[in-house]
């Protein structure tokens, strides 16, 4: 169920063919491997969060072919990425680039870790300053009555 929404959105657009069609693949296995690794980092733009290598959508197929054409022409990984980003924007990169708009995204986790470590440290500091452990609160009247009732039941 949880995946349904995603899958629906993917499948509505999906062509029935399996994605990595052998006819698209580069002859040279080393180049094909490079293309595959690179393709894993490129988003199928009409899909939920699948890479172009894992998608059945037509657009993903087109992008796979573009990537392979560029690699076939001898472009480096960076050049291929730039080629695709120039046409589709940063949105196509599954690994978001580090820049102004993603500052919070990339630094956030470290910030969170720092905050929680500082909180833990403060916790120990406060404790170390000798807050004696408070004794347990005395029982309220209602609790005393219940305790008596329970003890009676137990016998």
């Amino acid at each position: 169920m949880i995946r349904l929404a995603v899958l629906l959105s993917v499948l509505w657009l999906a062509a029935p063919a399996l994605a990595a069609d052998p006819s698209e693949m580069l002859k040279d296995p080393a180049l094909e491997k490079r293309a595959h690794t690179l393709g894993k980092e490129l988003r199928c733009l009409v899909c939920q969060s699948e890479s172009i290598e894992d998608s059945n959508a037509d657009l993903a197929k087109d992008l796979r072919i573009i990537v392979r054409e560029q690699i076939g022409k001898g472009a480096s990984d960076e050049q291929v990425k730039k080629f695709v980003v120039d046409r589709y924007g940063d949105y196509v990169l599954l690994n978001p680039p580090f820049k102004g708009a993603t500052l919070v995204l990339w630094l956030g986790p470290f910030g969170l870790l720092a905050v929680s470590l500082v909180a833990a440290w403060a916790f120990f500091r406060r404790r170390a300053k000798g807050q004696a452990p408070a004794g347990s609160a005395p029982l309220s009247d209602a609790e005393k009555r219940r305790l008596e009732a329970l003890l009676k039941d137990g016998k």
Binding site: M1, I2, R3, L4, A5, V6, L7, L8, S9, L11, A14, P16, A17, L18, A20, D21, P22, S23, M25, K40, E41, R43, Q48, S49, E50, S51, D54, G89, D90, Y91, V92, L93, L94, N95, P96, G100, A101, T102, V104, L105, W106, G108, P109, L112, L113, S116, L117, A120, F124, R127, Q131, P133, A134, S136, A137, A142, E143, R146, G154
Partner: protein, 661 residues
């Protein structure tokens, strides 16, 4: 008629929930036992009414009553009976009805099994539970009524998404919801404790079994979903860091942290307000998960804007529940008494470290999942946050956690001796280093990924540490074997639970590392009689035929697989096209061995002759599923611990008295 009964039962349930949300709460603050006692019968009535509604909808599905809009939109007469029944929750309205049925079930369980709860706490917890019920019932009745009629009824229904017509996904939602809703119990107890202003070891002891049960269900639910993705999507992948997956993973992380911090509250009367906060966060993330999936906001902010009624309602519910409880927390938490002191290096300290890393992990997944939405809403441009981000940020956080996981259980409470523990772990360290070296050599050094050896070493370190801890508890090889066996028999089940679950995680890490690092695949056009060899398995395509299923047509390929000239297996993957709705699915054929899965997928026919086939060897994937099951088993073991069992405290007390006498 039956549908109207169901609808009416929901309205009555709302009335009962309103009463249950108010009267016991007032009763608890006034010390009125009759008013407090009302929560019990109310929760029974609640279960009956919601149960009637659920049964009514199930009846409509089983009899294919297409005059009910929901059935007409999501079912079909040709569907096998199993999927007619599971189709009840295969849609928005029905899945919400399932949500609240499970909520009622948990409420009933508190009433039935909570005989030894203090009446005030029980009344308040059930009242909070009823408030959640009110919210969800209003949501269903106002925006998502499953009993809406359709006139005139169509001849047949539109059918269920074929992807849901699968045992893995049919039972994925109930388990997931049992987990989500289970955390509502911890939440209700936390809120009740905040109202009472008292959190003690007894409170933690009551909350733990509920949290543990929720955790077990959620673990099982996530594993089922992942397993389904593995065999159904046909790519051999099992985790995509998809927003919907993340939605269920975040409560799992928070819930795991909660389980561990509740241990500290129970044993050492410390970390109380933190535990309360985690209980609120775990349920808040469960609600958020429901919101993310149900509102459509994940697909795009714009989908949310075009049909905002449901999304806005859940968002309101979320803000009310989380905002309200945080406010209450801010007011009441400072008054919670702090208990036992402990040094940073101690069992408590290790559990706190687990909490810090788990919470940061959950926060990271939350940030990554919601960032594209924020960026879009704030006009920062469209950003994708995909697997590379999560792998590079989340996984490094988990490395220190697993490292500490081996040592933590060996540290003593209050003040631990880290150097001593590390020297006791030297066996595990040596084993881990040896495995790392062996892995590196086996994969041919840098021919494989650099992190594979690290992942394997980490798993062995964890497994080794867990075994060392267990061996020390039973004084294995230090005492005569008979004594060790006797000690083993006396180990508390919660301790077994920890040992088993941590070992399960080690298995899981081994499986995840191996299948990510050394997956082998071959994609090609294959003609009849042609043989392709992957990882030493020779796949010969011997036959392709069309077969007629209950409600689909399929192309079924038959592969004869041999290994070293010996017959190994016959694999029959299918490519199905369902009749209603007409959509394709792939059914991978998988044969598992201890070393990995042999996995075949068949695709389209190629005009020049032959079929597109994808053949995989997925190393150690069965270890992953085994790891998940072992973790669940460990959870069950811990849940069956006698101090969690119903009435156990009474018996224990009686025993103590008997011993004293």
């Amino acid at each position: 008629m039956i549908a109207e009964i169901g609808h009416f039962a929901l309205i009555l349930a709302l009335a009962v929930a309103l009463i249950q949300a108010v009267i016991p709460l007032v009763g608890a603050s006034r010390g009125n036992a009759t008013w407090m006692g009302l929560a019990g019968p109310a929760s029974v009535a609640q279960m009956l009414l919601v149960g009637i509604a659920f049964a009514a909808l199930t009846h409509a599905y089983m009899t294919s009553d297409f005059s009910v809009l929901n059935v007409a939109q999501n079912s079909h007469t040709d569907k096998p009976m199993l999927y007619k029944v599971t189709g009840v929750w295969g849609n928005h309205e029905g899945s919400l009805l399932l949500w609240i049925t499970i909520l009622a079930l948990f409420g009933l369980a508190v009433t039935l099994f909570g005989a030894n709860l203090p009446p005030g706490l029980k009344a308040r917890a059930l009242a909070v539970q009823a408030m959640i019920t009110v919210g969800f019932l209003l949501f269903i009745l106002l925006t998502s009524n499953p009993f809406e009629r359709l006139d005139p009824p169509p001849m047949n229904g539109s059918g269920l998404n074929p992807l849901l017509q699968d045992p893995g996904l049919a039972f994925h939602p109930p388990f997931l919801y049992l987990g989500y809703v289970g955390f509502s119990m911890a939440f209700s107890f936390a809120i009740a404790a905040l109202i009472e202003g008292k959190v003690d070891a007894a409170w933690a002891r009551w909350v733990r079994p509920w949290t543990l049960a929720a955790w077990i269900f959620l673990t099982l639910g996530i594993a089922l979903g992942s397993w389904w993705a593995y065999y159904e999507l046909g790519w051999g992948g099992w985790w995509y860091w998809d927003p919907v997956e993340n939605a269920s993973f975040m409560p799992w992380l928070a819930g795991t942290a909660l389980l561990h911090s509740a241990v500290v509250v129970e044993k050492r009367d410390s970390l109380k307000s933190w535990t309360i906060l985690l209980a609120i966060v775990a349920f808040g993330l469960s609600l958020l998960g429901t919101f993310l999936v149900r509102s459509g906001v994940i697909t795009s902010v714009h989908a949310f804007a075009t049909d905002p009624a449901r999304g806005v309602f859940i968002l309101g519910l979320l803000i009310f529940a989380v905002g309200g409880s945080f406010t209450l927390y801010a007011v009441r938490a400072p008054s919670l008494k702090t208990g036992g002191l402990f040094a940073p290096v101690s069992r408590e300290g290790a559990l706190l470290l687990n909490n810090v890393l788990m919470a940061t992990g959950a926060g990271t997944v939350l940030l990554g999942t919601l960032y594209p939405l924020f960026a879009d809403a704030l006009d920062l441009g469209k950003v994708s946050v995909g697997p590379p981000f999560f792998n590079s940020v989340f996984l490094p956080l988990m490395v220190p956690m697993v490292l500490a996981m081996a040592a933590g259980p060996l540290l003593s409470w209050k003040r631990g001796d880290l150097a001593g523990v590390l020297s006791r772990l030297s066996v595990a360290a040596v084993a881990a280093l040896a495995v790392a070296l062996a892995t590196w050599l086996w994969q041919g050094g840098s021919a494989g990924p650099w992190w594979a050896a690290g992942g394997m070493a980490l798993a062995v370190w964890l497994l080794g540490g867990t075994i060392v801890e267990w061996a020390e508890r039973i004084r294995l090889f230090r005492a005569p074997l008979a004594e060790s066996l006797e000690r083993m028999g006396k180990l508390p089940r919660s301790s077994w639970g920890m040992t088993i679950t941590h070992s399960g995680l080690a298995l899981l890490i081994i499986g995840m590392t191996a299948s990510s690092a050394w997956k082998l695949e071959s994609v090609q056009t294959q003609k009849l009689g042609e043989t392709i060899t992957v990882a030493g398995y020779a796949f010969t395509l011997t036959q392709v035929e069309d077969i007629n299923g209950a409600n689909y047509l399929a192309t079924q390929g038959t592969f004869k697989v041999t290994k070293d000239g010996q017959d190994f297996a016959i694999l029959q993957p299918e490519k199905r096209v369902y009749r209603q709705p007409p959509r394709p699915t792939t059914e991978a054929a998988i044969v598992s061995t201890i070393l990995g899965d042999v996995y075949a997928v068949i695709g389209d026919a190629v005009p020049e002759g032959g079929w597109v086939t994808r053949l995989y060897f997925n190393p150690l994937v069965p270890w992953m599923w085994a790891g998940c099951l072992v973790m669940v088993l460990g959870g069950l073991m811990s849940l069956s611990d006698r101090r969690h069992r119903i009435g156990a405290p009474t018996r224990a007390r009686a025993a103590v008295q008997a011993a004293k006498a």
